[in-house]
């Protein structure tokens, strides 16, 4: 069975700029995949290529094995929420959906259903020009759900949402995934989606940095140990012989990876090395994300990442 979404060696250049370079990853059927990267990493371009809005320079992005434009009835197969979704300010939210429903041949009754699903029923008659950013995101999600699609592609759906909105979005993502839909959701803020996704795909400067289940990243995140000793050179030697990666920390400590703290203690004891400190570093998914995307010029502000 083919994956819900497959990106194969996708490259997109805009003039001299390469937005996406040789990117490959998959979204399995029924899974929620977080698509992460700093702003400007190429997430939006990738998703637009997947949706047939942008023509790839090479490679391809397909949905259930087919290009978006080859889908027989795209609205019923893929729902998309694009970054900063835009609407005619003079049209009411309900009329906006009615127009899309007419084009997609979806019954008008479905419009009221999706409005209720996103909690916009009461404001549906108002002109979109008066909507808050959060309401626009909800309207955009309602539009994506019109055709009851199996695959959802959401580009930065948390942008502009307040904390309640983000919690609401998490619940929606969870319930959509619970219904067996495949969801590809992009974000530059890992914390917004970490609790909801099965896998994460991390990109930076248009290139794939990692694709792994969230659990694996968490394990990777907790692998660091900090040790303080009067004889760091000897300890490092002993640990390296055991296969650990050792770096000198900035304050005379050692930063050790690939080995757990208990084993560090045993090795130190058997070699007669005094340990003054042995700490399991409490690294978080955010730290892994920052480390992966760790280009300071591209990384988003730290306060955003550590916000939750």
């Amino acid at each position: 069975m083919s994956a819900a979404v497959t990106v194969e060696s996708l490259t997109k250049r805009f003039g001299q700029t390469t937005a996406v370079e040789d990117l490959s990853f998959e979204v399995p059927e029924g899974k929620v995949v977080g698509f992460l990267g700093p702003n400007g990493a190429g997430k939006t371009t990738t998703l637009r290529a997947l949706l047939g809005l942008v023509a790839p320079s090479s490679g391809r992005a397909v949905i259930a094995g087919r290009l978006y434009r080859e889908l027989a009835d795209p609205a019923r197969e893929v729902g998309a929420v694009l970054e900063n979704a835009r609407f005619h300010p003079g049209r009411s939210g309900r009329n906006h959906l009615l127009v899309l429903a007419a084009a997609a041949v979806v019954p008008d009754a479905r419009v009221d259903e999706v409005l209720a699903m996103v909690g916009l029923s009461d404001d549906a008659g108002r002109r979109v020009g008066g909507y808050s950013l959060g309401m626009r995101q909800r309207l955009s999600l309602a539009a994506a759900l019109l055709g009851d699609p199996r695959v959802l592609v959401l580009d930065e759906p948390a942008n502009g949402l307040d904390p309640q909105g983000i919690r609401w979005l998490r619940d929606v993502l969870r319930s959509l995934a619970g219904e067996g839909r495949a969801v590809l959701v992009s974000s530059h803020v890992l914390a917004e989606i970490a609790q909801t996704v099965d896998d994460v795909v991390v990109i930076g400067r248009g290139k794939l940095l990692a694709q792994a289940p969230v659990g694996e990243l968490t394990r990777r995140a907790s692998a660091g140990v900090r040790a303080r000793t009067p004889d760091p050179t000897k300890l490092a030697e002993v640990l390296r012989a055991e296969g650990a990666a050792v770096e000198a920390g900035h304050d005379g400590t050692l930063l050790i990876r690939g080995i757990d703290p208990a084993r560090v203690g045993e090795l130190a004891a058997s070699s007669g090395i005094v340990l003054q400190e042995l700490t399991q570093l409490g690294a978080t998914l955010e730290d892994v994300f920052l480390e992966l995307t760790g280009d300071s010029s591209l990384a988003p502000a730290g306060d955003q990442l550590r916000g939750s």
């Binding site: 942008v54 434009r69 889908l71 979704a85 835009r86 003079g90 009329n95 127009v99 899309l100 007419a102």
Partner: protein
């Protein structure tokens, strides 16, 4: 296509722009009609030829219907709503064709409204001025058909221009400068522009041989103007298929 047409007709009904521009167009057409009728000398005779000239004057208001098509098509890019449409119809061209047809229908309806105005306001007024109508036989059919065609095709042409330019202001300025300044200037230099240009073609549609010296036959004018509309819609589609949508 019928679903897309339904969507386009719903779109244009649900924005104020449509109603405001159509209202202004109708008001201008009514104004022109009132001015012509008030300066018309008493007890004269009106023939088929005069009908063409009258329609030519009234058609000044059709510029707004052209603008309506431009504003609607370029507005999809301005407001970003084009993306949602292309997601539902990724082949894209049917969206543009449906919009051109929808606005052609609006133009036709507007053209019919101006004719209705002529019947309701014009005929009693003419009767009061003791004017004799000599619209013998079928001579009125061509100008009346031309009146409807011109309004409908102008709106579709506007959709083509708006899709081609994507920028409302650029498309509007280009259209108005071409029709009101460039073409009239070129007509002074070349008779061909007067005959085959957009303005000359409209004269052929109304059978208005008073404003232009060398006017095409009705059917040729109708075909040529439909050709202009198809050309701009086609060019808009060709570019839309090649461009990335942001």
């Amino acid at each position: 296509m019928s679903a897309l047409l339904r969507a386009e007709l719903l779109k244009l009904r649900t924005t104020r722009t449509t109603w405001v521009l159509l209202g202004i167009a109708l008001a201008i057409a009514a104004g022109v009609l009132v001015i012509i009728l008030s300066v018309l000398e008493r007890s004269r005779t009106i023939t088929d030829d005069n009908l063409g000239a009258l329609f030519s004057f009234i058609s000044i208001a059709d510029l707004l219907v052209l603008c309506l098509g431009i504003v609607a098509a370029a507005g999809e890019f301005r407001h970003g709503t084009v993306t949602a449409g292309f997601l539902i119809t990724p082949s894209r061209w049917p969206v543009v064709v449906a919009k051109a047809i929808a606005y052609a229908l609006v133009g036709l309806a507007y053209g019919a409204a101006t004719l209705l105005l002529l019947l309701v306001v014009g005929l009693p007024w003419l009767a009061a001025k003791d004017v004799t109508l000599e619209l013998g036989g079928t001579g009125w059919i061509e100008p009346v058909t031309g009146r409807l065609l011109y309004a409908g095709l102008s709106a579709a042409l506007g959709v083509g221009l708006g899709t081609l330019f994507r920028n409302q202001a650029a498309a509007l300025v280009t259209a108005l400068v071409t029709l009101l300044a460039v073409e009239p200037a070129l007509q002074l230099v070349s008779d061909a522009v007067g005959t085959y240009g957009l303005n000359g073609t409209s004269a052929a549609l109304f059978g208005d041989s008073e404003s232009f010296s060398d006017v095409l036959p009705f059917w040729a004018g109708a075909l040529l103007y439909a050709g202009y509309a198809a050309l701009f819609v086609g060019a808009g589609i060709a570019l839309t298929l090649r461009r990335d949508v942001s």
